[in-house]
């Protein structure tokens, strides 16, 4: 075995002792460290758009706007991470719960439904409705495993937007429900208007911080252990007293809850919901964020979602603007005529996801910000004694009936 290559990691420039001390502290005081870290992040988000590199590109408001949108995706990614990263259930229809949260808010707060319910309670109600649908989907399907579950969730993810599309009478079909009321004014920050994205960003930061704290608590509890155990070996988990169905259902419901939060927030911010916001591309984007961020690592996934969203929504737009600014003349590349100015780089975002995912799987399968356990899992140094043990395993006498866990086999 060759020595493992030195790999870039986000804390690579901090001395190991300091890192160990920080890790020990953050393990012992999880919620406090999240609070501190998120406060720092919040301060940076508030201040950075006012200082040169960012302030050159645009005024502060668009930055706040994109930060708030990135927050939506951070919530989605953290929710999907519970289902895919911690519990190991491949959910390809995650956008469905996002849609349900969004429509729940649209029904409660629009001229179309003649309702105007308060925003913050609706945040909870929308999330609860999404959770109910999570349970409704999970209860009959969670006995399936692996690919079969993925196909079921994929179907659900397709069905939900189509239902919203075709329930013309209640959802106005393709047009969607528009003119959704914005949240009521906040005490100090004042009104929510299109030009005060700052408010949305503050609310989002608050929700993300609380969500992150709660998910970390779950992960460190007996529930979190049960999730990871199910991911590792479902049959062994059941044979050790874990009610796998209930535990998986809980993961599904909590994932849907976070999606519901994101949906309500998204609807109140965009003020319009239509079925085309929730097609498979959203599920796919969130899945890509989870994988790129570092599946299973909560803060890593949130950071990954932020980075990916910023690349997709801000960087590509800026590339367009820069190319336009440079005004590169069209040139011939062999038989192909290239006109950089005419390319809309935003259209290439899915190509970029694809390339990023391929590169990721080849070079860094644990993601950009993996947890230490996951990194160890994918870059193991095989100890000599383990190597001999594997040899011994090969000649285990009496390999009778093996309890093979076929995918799709219903768990008793």
């Amino acid at each position: 075995m060759s020595a493992p290559a030195v790999r870039w990691s986000p804390g690579g420039f901090v001395p190991p002792e300091t890192r160990a001390r920080i890790r020990a502290f953050s393990d012992a005081h999880r919620s406090m460290s999240i609070l501190v870290a998120m406060s720092v992040v919040s301060l940076l988000m508030i201040l950075l758009p006012h200082v040169p590199p960012l302030s050159f590109l645009s005024t502060a408001t668009p930055w706040y706007d994109s930060f708030a949108n990135a927050g939506t995706f951070m919530l989605l990614a953290m929710g999907l991470n519970i289902v895919v990263g911690l519990t190991g259930l491949l959910d390809l229809g995650y956008a469905a719960f996002f849609a349900i949260g969004s429509y729940a808010y649209a029904f409660s707060n629009s001229p179309f439904s003649h309702q105007n319910l308060p925003f913050f309670p609706m945040l909870i109600v929308g999330a609860a409705i999404a959770a109910l649908f999570g349970i409704a989907l999970g209860a009959p399907t969670l006995r399936l495993r692996g690919d079969y579950l993925a196909i079921m969730t994929l179907g659900f993810g397709e069905i939900v937007p189509i239902v919203f599309l075709n329930l013309d009478k209640w959802t106005k079909g393709t047009n969607g429900i528009s003119g959704i009321y914005r949240p009521e004014p906040l005490p100090i920050l004042g009104e929510f208007t299109p030009i005060t994205s700052f408010n949305y960003m503050v609310v989002m930061l608050f929700v993300v911080t609380v969500a992150m704290m709660l998910i970390y608590r779950l992960q460190d509890s007996r529930i979190g252990r049960a999730w990871v155990a199910i991911r590792e070996d479902e049959l062994a988990a059941a044979a050790n007293g874990i009610n796998t169905v209930v535990t998986k259902l809980l993961a599904f419901a909590l994932g849907a809850t976070l999606s519901g939060f994101a949906g309500v927030f998204n609807a109140s911010k965009l003020t319009i919901v239509s079925p085309d916001q929730f097609y498979f591309t959203v599920s796919f984007t969130v899945m890509a964020m989870v994988i790129i961020g570092g599946m299973g690592n909560i803060w890593g996934v949130a950071a990954g979602a932020f980075v990916v969203y910023m690349i997709q929504a801000v960087l590509l737009k800026q590339v367009n603007a820069i190319v336009e600014l440079l005004n590169v003349p069209a040139f011939n590349l062999g038989p192909i005529q290239v006109n950089l100015g005419a390319i809309n780089f935003l259209e290439y975002q899915y190509l970029l996801y694809g390339l990023a995912l391929v590169a990721m799987m080849l070079k860094r399968p644990e993601g950009l910000f993996p947890s230490s356990a996951r990194r160890a899992e994918l870059h193991t140094i095989v100890a000599p004694e383990v190597a001999t043990a594997v040899g011994a395993l090969g000649e285990t006498p009496g390999a009778d009936e093996d309890l093979g866990g076929d995918p799709g086999e219903a768990v008793p």
């Binding site: 919620s31 409704a136 509890s221 062994a236 059941a238 874990i242 004694e385 009778d400 009936e401 093996d402």
Partner: protein, 329 residues
């Protein structure tokens, strides 16, 4: 002495293969009982039936006096019971809707009926004990699932080690203790004092169990990085996490060298002596079997061919035939 487990005429058929055929079997409390037999004799299948993984084709198993595993009976009633509340609400709404009320009331009725169906389904999938008792009133019987058996007091290990590879040794044991911990997900979210206290106690207990298995100094290591013998013992420690009454060990010394085998045999003796466990052992190593068993049962081709003390079994001509073949005539 009472019996921890009684199996009556247990049969399991996989298609045309009769894996276990009419096996009768009892495990007295506090004893070490071994199940031996040539490869493919149905030992592990029998084990998996006891552990709740396979439903038997026939027969029944009583665990600590209660019938826990038998053939499913009247299962068709169950989905009917799920649909019933939703149907009642739905039909009620329809009748009310006929008399021309507000659309909103009808919508509410439909919503309630869907919610009723969902609640019924979730209870049905989760299968809490009260639900099982409720089903019992309609004559429905469904075998206990693996996790129900653990709650009832059965611990097991696997023939091919099935640890949670990417969890630390202590976390593996904590997973084993899962069903004895009381903290709910709400406790975990709020990080209540009760939850934190319980977690600290659980961790301490897990370390004690690791100590028992001589793994104390390996507590923080990932399970997959442990040497083979340690992995075997960690599996036992994990099974002990749920405070079982009966421990099923599926070939615990497979692939071990003589010294490791000796250590493990001592550990099994300690488990009975110190923890008062009853142990059912599947084992190929005859020194282990003959050394620690009180009773030995021999299976061949799914049938019980002998039962008795180690000495009796050793001399039984049928056993000798099963292992060595019949003498040439």
């Amino acid at each position: 002495m009472t019996d921890v487990l009684q199996a009556h005429n247990v049969t399991k058929r996989f298609g045309g293969l009769l894996a276990v055929h009419d096996v009768n079997f009892t495990i007295p409390e506090g004893s070490i009982v071994s199940l031996i037999g040539p490869n493919g004799a149905g030992k592990t299948t029998f084990f998996n039936i006891i552990a709740g993984i396979y439903d038997p084709t026939g027969g029944e198993i009583r665990f600590r006096g209660t019938r826990v595993i038998a053939r499913t009976r009247r299962a068709w009633i169950e989905p009917l019971l799920w649909v019933l509340p939703a149907l009642v609400v739905g039909v009620g709404t329809w009748i009310v809707g006929q008399s021309g009320v507000d659309d909103l009331v009808v919508a509410l009725g439909i919503f309630l009926s869907v919610v009723a169906l969902m609640i019924a389904m979730v209870i049905g999938v989760a299968r809490p004990p009260a639900y099982n008792r409720f089903l019992g009133r309609f004559g429905v019987f469904r075998s206990a699932r693996p996790n129900d058996m653990v709650v009832a007091g059965l611990g097991r290990t696997f023939q091919n080690i099935r640890l949670f590879q990417n969890m630390t040794a202590v976390d593996n044991v904590l997973v084993g203790m899962h069903c004895r911990l009381k903290a709910t997900w709400i406790d975990a979210l709020l990080s209540t004092p009760r939850d934190r206290r319980e977690e600290a106690q659980a961790r301490e207990r897990a370390l004690e169990l690791l100590d028992l298995a001589d793994l104390r100094d390996r507590a923080g290591e990932l399970a997959k990085n442990l040497p083979y013998g340690d992995q075997r013992r960690l599996e036992i420690a994990r099974a002990l996490g749920s405070n079982p009454v009966l421990l099923l060990l599926d070939e615990p010394t497979a692939g071990m060298n003589p010294r490791e085998t000796g250590d493990l045999t001592k550990l099994i003796g300690r488990l009975r002596h110190d923890l008062g466990l009853t142990i059912l052992l599947i084992e190929h190593d005859m020194r282990v079997v003959m050394g620690i068993s009180d009773r030995v049962t021999v299976l061949d081709h799914g049938e019980r061919i002998a039962e008795g003390t180690p000495d009796e079994v050793r001399r039984d001509p049928k056993v000798i035939e099963a292992y060595l073949g019949s003498p040439a005539s």
